[in-house]
Symmetry: C2
């Protein structure tokens, strides 16, 4: 790698974050594809920039850069890869569904391009969101807010009896990447029984880990089923009606992964019957979830609008995470969060 | 202490819990003041039995028992104490405001009666409730539920930008008993800065501990103010308008202690001005909070109906906690949760 490097970036960071990146990236050069937004609060880390969707002149072709940072179009990356200059593609999200194709992998691996995501930016907020879901249900917070917005009575005994301690209860995590690892750390003081379900257990998870062949057994035993699955061919529709039926009666279901990994009508049925006591979902299919979608009004189903990864300072944390990899690349050191 | 002991108990435990206590208390004898309730779900651990309020015949006078367990009337305890038989009063709550008088203390201490509460039954659910409050606000869960019950739009970017990580933030705990100690353990993985405010620091708190003389300084620095104060002469109205004004702009306030320790109109003003960003209260003054009380509709003020200590198995855990002290008393071993 010859330095200084040229970085193509299509992330719509605020000006202060751009200034930070420019300063900390030196001697490497950042080329911004888009002007800085005039309003704050509109940042969307996973916003895909469609070819032709942005009318501003593109000042540099990706093929003339050493590094692409943001949400580059997979087809554009594949084409730029042929010019053999690009060394690193670093995306501003943890999810990488649209890059997870054989065609894309062959293009970047054939050109020796490293592909990294931002999973260690989002593990912390996502794990805190997951624990917030678990504790909110355990402490009956949504029911209390419904009462506050409703008749404002004081059903203290009823709510106390419906509340429960997490201690000694069991949680099954579907998928066990950075979020699952961090959630396990946050849950340590609660003394829960944790089981991870992975395609390829490494033996170094630090918690009991099983493959899908053991799924029915572990679903039957779990008080909490935490879905952390990304969207991929192998995970689409993973939580079927049959698997909801395998869950322990009265258990809780959460989704911090992707909406398409769940058979949503089956989840609704499981909630209507009471077999699944409640669900807290950060992701749905589709998103935004239309106002007339059945999930909004399914009893004991609570929804946050894909906010699990969000947090004050998100742009700065994305920037610093990228800068670490930029400097690692320049000095031939190992990259973090390399997916392939 | 001569055994077997006779235990006077006015707790309205379910029959299954009574059976458990009878079995595990042997050879000691339990005398139930009230018949077992016919319906479950109505248990109230702190229900004070007013003299004459219960029409059932009292089968034993407290003065003829060695132990009183439940929520005995303080005046009745003081009178029974004169007969010099009572050795232990063990109450089914963590709060003990109505026993916290000089007159009561003199009566029981003068008769060498130990007074114990159930704080180690309630530290765990209360600490989990406190963390649920902190995470619910950090992850914007109440706002999301309001949207779900409202126009069902999908303000993802807005909510993400309003969410925040607890890591590195600071929390001041007002009062630092069993709940604060346990909350500190639950918060350990978050790497927060924790400061405890106590009347009499022991030096063994394991966190930075200050007295009230440092309150203004620590309030100014805290992102989170967690009120865990019991109600007593020294704590009534503790959170004044001045102290809310001393809080850092945009900080959060929580109350898991007692409602009377807060100047509620001052809290409302602090929330209306935005100086306090939000509040999550489990306790209010009065309780139940009347449906037309201003706190219900104060912006960014969320309320649970005094449920922080509640949990499945509460009666059984109260029973086991008492049984440990009963057997400790019989064998002259140290009591747990002895208040005085």
């Amino acid at each position: 790698v010859s330095t200084p490097l040229t970085v193509w970036c299509d992330a719509r960071f605020e000006q202060s974050v751009r200034d930070h990146i420019r300063e900390k990236a030196a001697p490497h050069q950042i080329v911004w594809v888009h002007p800085a937004p005039q309003t704050s609060g509109s940042f969307n880390n996973a916003q895909a920039v469609q070819p032709g969707a942005d009318k501003s002149p593109v000042p540099v072709d990706m093929s003339e850069a050493d590094v692409a940072f943001g949400q580059p179009n997979p087809q554009a990356v594949s084409e730029a890869a042929q010019k053999k200059r690009l060394r690193l593609v670093h995306i501003t999200s943890a999810g990488y569904t649209r890059y997870d194709t054989d065609e894309f992998k062959q293009a970047v691996q054939g050109a020796s391009i490293a592909f990294c995501n931002s999973s260690h930016v989002y593990d912390e907020p996502c794990a805190q969101h997951a624990l917030a879901f678990m504790l909110a249900l355990a402490r009956e917070l949504p029911a209390a807010l419904d009462t506050q917005r409703g008749n404002r009575d004081w059903p203290s005994a009823k709510r106390r009896n419906a509340s429960y301690l997490l201690n000694g209860q069991s949680v099954v995590m579907l998928g066990y990447g950075a979020i699952g690892v961090r959630l396990t750390e946050l849950l340590a003081p609660f003394g829960m029984q944790i089981v991870a379900v992975r395609r390829n257990p490494t033996g170094s998870e630090g918690v009991e880990t099983v493959t899908e062949s053991q799924l029915a057994r572990v679903l039957q035993q779990a008080d909490h089923v935490m879905n952390l699955l990304p969207e991929a061919d192998a995970t689409r529709g993973f939580m079927t009606a049959e698997r909801f039926a395998q869950m322990k009666a009265g258990a809780r279901f959460y989704n911090i992964g992707r909406g398409a990994t769940v058979d949503q009508p089956a989840l609704r049925e499981a909630l209507l019957s009471g077999h699944v006591a409640s669900a807290y979902l950060d992701v749905t299919d589709p998103e935004p979830l239309p106002a007339d979608h059945f999930l909004w009004t399914t009893p004991n189903c609570y929804i946050t609008p894909h906010t699990a990864g969000g947090h004050w300072g998100e742009q700065l944390r994305l920037a610093d995470h990228f800068l670490r990899n930029l400097h690692a690349l320049a000095s031939n050191k190992p990259l973090v969060d390399q997916v392939f």
